[in-house]
């Protein structure tokens, strides 16, 4: 069966070039980069190349890149690293729409005596900047605000946020796993102090990430062990994956323009055609301040898991914010924070593209998704009232004309 993979905010295909670059580090160059012999030492040089490649993608200095095991570790390392380095400060500012890596860590911190201020978002998923300014206190150790939202693709004005954080004398961390590789970043002219990168969101393998720590930021290591990563992260380096992350960053930089010229038009076509063909649907999140690859659509009167199961039958891989797909009964905290009505949260579907998607992929979804919605609405006890009301208003308009 033809597989149409549009769940790239969950994870991405490892680029063939990345796999190719990694292979020798399993078989041939398996030495430990910390070893004194040339066999191991030569690997350390390759890790430096990968560090340079990651730094180049976000315009950072290679010394500011620390390799980690994943985005979640980077988020934990950033927040714990700053809290432990500033033990007298016990306040954190974050948002209600963070990824669980930050969101649940902040919940844990609250249970352990820290104070957390969660900033709300409006119906478009945008932050209130004034609320942010008011939230930062003298004892605010760190402000952690994501760069782009994984569910809606909404991009926060991170530099504007950063300048306020700087004015108030605090430190800014941003979880940028969804942004890196999709939109250009320039950390050389930025107010960001710490930034999280995840490998598998940009066509590198799972199990590798990176944390940007700006020079001059006092930071206590999270994983304590050996002297690796200049004493900032213990543990023998995951060499093949680090090489893979470096290659993936190089490729992302090379293909960055395509995110706008190729991925965005596909996303826009997909979104527009589906909205045209499926009534009572809406876009979740700000239409303009959004990643080029993501669309989050809500279909009233139907439930997300049922949509996903039927899409799955057509080989289409997508996600939903519905309660039934979350493993718990709680629907998406992101859509709830935006005040999306319950009815629309349950019927939400996220389609996230990559540069590997084709026009045929998009046509395949346009062909199959609207009939699926129609079919589920025929089973649903809801929605008829609205249809009837619409018919009545159509009739009355016709009567008037």
């Amino acid at each position: 069966m033809r597989v149409v993979y549009v769940d790239n905010n969950a994870t991405t295909m490892v680029a063939p070039e990345v796999v190719e670059a990694m292979m020798p580090y399993f078989t041939e160059y398996y030495g430990n980069p910390s070893s004194m012999h040339t066999f191991g030492g030569q690997v350390a040089k390759k890790i430096d190349t990968a560090r340079q490649q990651v730094a180049d993608l976000v315009k950072a200095d290679p010394s500011e890149i620390v390799f980690t095991s994943c985005g979640t570790e980077s988020d934990n390392a950033a927040i714990w690293g700053i809290l432990r380095a500033n033990p007298q400060k016990r306040h954190i500012v974050t948002t209600r729409v963070e990824h669980p890596a930050v969101y649940n860590l902040c919940k844990y911190l609250v249970q352990n005596g820290y104070h957390v201020t969660e900033l709300g978002v409006n119906s478009k998923g945008m932050l209130d900047i004034e609320e942010l300014a008011d939230a930062i206190r003298e004892d605010t150790a760190i402000v952690s605000v994501m760069y782009a939202n994984n569910e809606t693709g909404v991009i926060f004005p991170i530099e504007e946020i950063g300048s306020i954080v700087k004015q108030k004398g605090s430190i800014l961390h941003t979880d940028a796993v969804q942004a890196v590789g999709k939109i250009p970043l320039d950390l050389s002219k930025s107010t960001i102090d710490l930034l999280t990168i995840s490998g598998h969101k940009l066509h590198a393998p799972k199990g590798v990430g990176a944390l940007f720590v700006r020079k001059g930021i006092t930071f206590t290591p999270f994983v304590i062990g050996g002297h690796q990563e200049k004493n900032r992260r213990g543990g023998t380096e995951n060499v093949p994956s680090i090489i893979g992350l470096g290659k993936a960053c190089e490729l992302a930089k090379k293909h960055m323009a395509e995110e706008q010229t190729q991925v965005r038009p596909l996303r826009d076509k997909l979104e527009n055609e589906i909205l045209k063909r499926a009534p009572d649907a809406r876009i979740n999140g700000h239409k303009d301040y959004r990643l080029p690859n993501t669309t989050n659509l809500s279909f009233e009167f139907v439930e997300g898991e049922a949509i996903l199961l039927l899409l799955n039958e057509k080989g289409i891989c997508a996600s939903s914010g519905s309660a039934c797909t979350s493993g718990s009964l709680e629907p998406s905290h992101v859509l709830r924070a935006m005040g999306v009505p319950f009815t629309a949260v349950h019927g939400s579907v996220r389609l996230s593209l990559s540069r590997y998607n084709s026009a045929e992929d998009v046509d395949h979804i346009i062909e199959y998704l609207p009939p699926i919605i129609k079919r589920l609405r025929e089973i649903s006890p809801y929605g008829r009232e609205i249809k009837e009301r619409k018919q009545i208003s159509e009739v009355s308009i016709r009567d008037i004309v």
């Binding site: 009167f301 049922a306 199961l309 039934c324 006890p381």
Partner: protein, 284 residues
């Protein structure tokens, strides 16, 4: 990714009896958009009380649609009384099992059926189970409903309660209350087990022990049953093996209260206190 049985998938991809019946004899509606699932069940009966047509509409996930579809197959051709005996577990078993987290889908099926039967019999649809105090505000689940699920499915953890009736699956702020319900029920069960053991050991009860046991059994095992049907009972006196009670509420006017006196009140007291008890109704 949920691990659905082939039968669940079959009923989801090819749901049976979808739609509505014109002039139905019974309609049962449960759930809401806010809850994330809802089911509307419609029945048509023949003169002999057999279900000759059944249709449903569901808003919900794969297993909610499958559970509703399975339920329609299960009750087709049955009498109302036969259909009334179907439990949550029957629906889940018919589908060759549901994932633990999805058991509430079969519960919704049974509830819609109950509502339809109540509607057919002209009873009020809000059952006592729906009454009580709301514990879970996110999904509007009452303490009675939680207690019912706990007893019926022998649930021991909050997570199980969430799987079966959704309570506690939202903001989690009601978890302490759910734990209290669990503790109360299982503490009572433990006491019950201890009584049973004491009874088995054949020791003769003292008068004080007997009176205490009679009182506790009435509170724990008899009053909730009668209250569920709008009635109640009061213990007036205990004299040797004679237990004197008086009916209250709906039981006073109920023609079958004499049967209840023997089949429920006396039977329970004999089970939990001693086999020689005789229960008498007195007016007071």
């Amino acid at each position: 990714m949920w691990d659905y049985s082939e039968k669940v998938k079959d009923h989801f991809f090819h749901p049976r009896n979808v739609g509505e019946i014109e002039n139905p004899d019974a309609v049962g509606e449960v759930g809401s958009l806010a809850c994330g699932d809802a089911l509307k069940l419609m029945l048509k009966l023949d003169k002999s009380g057999h279900i000759i047509d059944v249709k449903f509409k569901t808003f919900g996930c794969g297993s909610a649609i499958a559970s509703a579809s399975a339920l329609t197959e299960m009750i087709m051709g049955k009498t109302i009384d036969e259909a009334a005996k179907i439990t949550d577990n029957d629906i889940a078993e018919y589908l060759n099992g549901l994932p633990e987290q999805k058991m509430h889908c079969s519960v919704m099926g049974r509830e819609a059926l109950e509502a339809a039967i109540a509607n057919y019999r002209g009873q009020k649809i809000d059952k006592p189970i729906e009454e009580g105090t709301i514990v879970c505000k996110c999904f509007g689940v009452t303490d009675n409903k939680i207690a019912h699920a706990v007893r019926e499915h022998k649930l021991t953890t909050i997570e199980q309660v969430t799987n079966y009736c959704k309570a506690g699956g939202g903001c989690r702020s009601c978890h302490p209350q759910i734990q209290a319900i669990l503790d109360e029920i299982w503490q009572k069960e433990k006491e019950k087990a201890m009584f049973m053991q004491a009874k088995k050991s054949g020791k003769k009860l003292t008068n004080i022990q007997k009176m205490k046991l009679v009182q506790e059994t009435i509170e724990r095992d008899i009053r909730p049953i009668l209250q569920a049907d709008g009635g109640d009972i009061e213990l007036i006196d205990v004299d040797g093996d004679r237990v004197m009670v008086s009916f209250r509420g709906g039981c006073v006017e109920c023609p079958s209260s004499k049967v209840t006196l023997k089949s429920t009140v006396e039977a329970r007291l004999r089970e939990f206190v001693t086999d020689t008890l005789i229960v008498e109704e007195v007016t007071s």
